[in-house]
Amino acid sequence: MQYQKFSHEEVFSRRAILIGGAQIFLLTSLLGRLGWLQIVETSHYQKLSERNRTQVDLLAPTRGRIFDRNGSELARNLSKYNLYVMLDQVTDFDTMIKRLTAITPLKQKTIDEMRERAQTTKRFVPFKAQHDISWAEVTKIEAKTTSLRGVKINLGEQRIYPLRDSMAHIVGYVARPSEREIKKHPLYYLPGFMVGKSGVEKGYEESLRGFGGETRYEVNAKGQRVSEVARIAPQHGRELWLSIDAKLQNMIAKKLSVEKRAAAVVMDIHTGEIIAAVSVPSFDPNLFAQGIDEASWQQIKKNPHYPLTNKVISGAYAPGSVFKTAVMLAALEKGFPLNTKHTCHGRIKHGNRWFHCWRRGGHGSVDMLKALRESCDVWFYKVALALGISTINKYAQLLGYGRELNLDLPDERAGLIPSKAWKLRKIGRPWLISDTLLSAIGQGYVLATPLQLSVQMARVANGGFAVEPRAVFLPDSKKRLFADGKSPFRKLGASESSLSVIRAALDEVVNHPSGTAYKARIHAPARAMAGKTGTSQVRRISSKERQQGILKNSRLPWLKRDHALFAGFAPVADPQWAVAVIIEHGGSGSSAAAPYARDFLDFTQKNIKPSYERPKSNDLQA
């Protein structure tokens, strides 16, 4: 037998060492495991441990107030007590409702909605049961917290917009974050916390929101709070000062309120500050801040005139004759002399198609100044043929057409300056000469926002600086730049002589007896306005219709009537303000849009001062 080679003692010793060795080996491997957990994976478990023991209550910051350029409040906060029910914490729904209604009257609709929510979803979503409860109700509910499990009172801040409809598109509004938005910021989960949904409320959301604070509690395994570990105070949102002047904004909103769809903008031509921007129709942003009810929402949604759209930046229109300003700049820069003459017989033929002037009888012999003053389409057709579309587009883009102007508001549209490449790509057909002709009078594919029309005027009027619009008040450092006589904007690259010719032509449009806007001039010479009218067709006029006599606008159904436009600046002598007005389906620019523009610019000049001390415009150098 194998074992007889060894003594019994030897066998034992060998096996004892084997057993002991195995034991030590196994215990040492436990050491390895311990090291793995405690050294390699420790940060992971430390996080889990912290999460276990801490409970964080977020403290909401107060949203920054919004002011106009004079310090009038455009948005403020009102502290309110709101009643919330944490549906996942309610044990007996009916008893809770019974007890709660004894304290504060709940609407039957609210109760039904809450019951349905309680039955369908188990998720942690606080349900807002009552809005703005009284202090007496608050004390009663707080006294009964133990019997009202899941009922919470939240000191919420409600956003108030004192100017209501007239400021709705610029300031925008706040509302509860959507399902998608709520994931973006932990504060959004707080009951009653609001997020900017449009206007500067959305554009400056981060700065207005501020930073949440928190209270950290240590909790035990049962979730009971053991102690307060730390408290970080919230950092309140910053105040926002807009360049808007509430007086002008109100005045414009009031005047335009008789129109179905309209938009107007007034801006400072040197700084780009928007002084007023009105879009009609409007809505009351307070409805959203309170949590809009279904009836009001349906009313806004079913309004055929798009009250929620800010037409100043989101409405893109054929600019019509207003666009001729850009074509004229192209002609001047390409060396066309002032006495470039063409004869207008009311129409020209290109290919087998007739292109008409708005004046059926024609303008006769037309030079450059007359062409703009009387808005002769034929003159511009002919000049456009000589210039070519790409030259026209180049100068149109210089003046701000065809791209977003980076206004600090959401949903700005770029408009459209159609090129050969664009047409081939989007429409799938080659560019035709007729497209160039239509572009030259701001029809066809050309689209511009009212903001772009006013920027065009501002760039012509300010001596050729590529001013960009902004809705937020200039900080002091920027103001100093202007005070020093320096514009922060680059030069457009258009010659001053061309620009001064255009300014003279725009002056004649309004102040020359044969000008299209003569009736809408400002009589006081010191406040005289310059500008360009536009009447843009929204339908095609067939040759048959022309033969039978074109229907008067007032006899057409409203939606087929022309858009009336006007864009200009004032005062003529030393320009300061630019304006653009569009009245959708309002008829002719000279009679439907220019009078509004006159009123707005007149009011602006009488009542509003620039935000900085500026030397004479001629001293402004880049």
């Binding site: 196994l26 420790t42 889990l48 441990s49 240590e218």
Partner: protein, 368 residues
Amino acid sequence: MKILHKVQQLHFPLMATVIAIAAIGIAMLYSAASNEWQPWAAAHSTRLLVGIMLIVVVATIDIRIWFKASYFLYLVALLMLLATLYAPNAVSAKGGTRWLDLGPLVIQPSEFMKIALVLAIARFANNNSLMHGYQIIYAIVAVTFIALPTMLVLKQPDLGTGLILLMTGITALFASGLRWIFFVLGGIASIATVPILWNFMKPYQKDRVITFLNPNVDPLGSSYHIVQSKIALGSGGLFGKGLFQGTQGHLNFLPEKHTDFIFAMFAEEVGFFGGSLLICLYIVMLSLCMGIALATKHSFGRILCVGLGATLFFYIFTNLGMVMNLLPVVGVPLPLVSYGGSAMMTVMLSIGLIINVYVHRNEWLNKM
């Protein structure tokens, strides 16, 4: 004065190690009670003092008395195990583990059996030298020694203790020199009988085995235990959160923190540094036991040391393995640290017997 001479002969390093480990236990039980002596730390201290006296008494009794009493003690333990199953004074709690109510004393016969089994195997090995006779008969008798109590304990049912009894018995048998082939065959046989046994098992027994093998399906939520245990260990890091300052333990996230999961609490408070110190203390303790075994001249003492040491090892390993999520959750306490009277007394008795062997290492024990 023979007694005094024997007291001088006691193995003081082993005793010191035991006291050091138990002291850690006291500190942790103090911490577990939110830094209070009551209810656990005070009782544990008292038990430590009683335990030390027990060690001295057990160690100084003549080894021949233990030798002669071996079979008798085994028989008594076996009868008590039977009584837990069939006697009217059996007390059951915690889903199976059973106690016997003997008037003033409530004892756990399975604890007592751990020592009695090793004593019985040691005596049997001492009397039947494997140099002579047939190993088969030796094996059959020895396996019977192990099988009887194991089956009774499993029937209670207490799977953890049953398996430890089985493993302890097999280790003792292996140390006694039984040929390798028996262990290999035994291993194969037990694997082969698993499917057969499975068919004879009742559904609830099957459930229990499944739960044992896969703690994730445990309906009692032992996965919560193990998750919290890992968080406690892991968040302890290298040096821990500070003695008496563990958050997992003090805020009650850690379940059974004064009994089965006490090591997690310890390692949370003192980190890898302290945790490995305790494991090293256990390694020292087991190595000293093994050293005594190797220094002993008689088979009885040697098998006794290896067997009792194995019991301690299996407890330590099973508990730590469970806490570190390497083994399934079985209710096994950590020797000398976990709170519990019966377990503490069993450990002290075992250490007492090992030191007894050390004191009597040079005696010559005849076949009896």
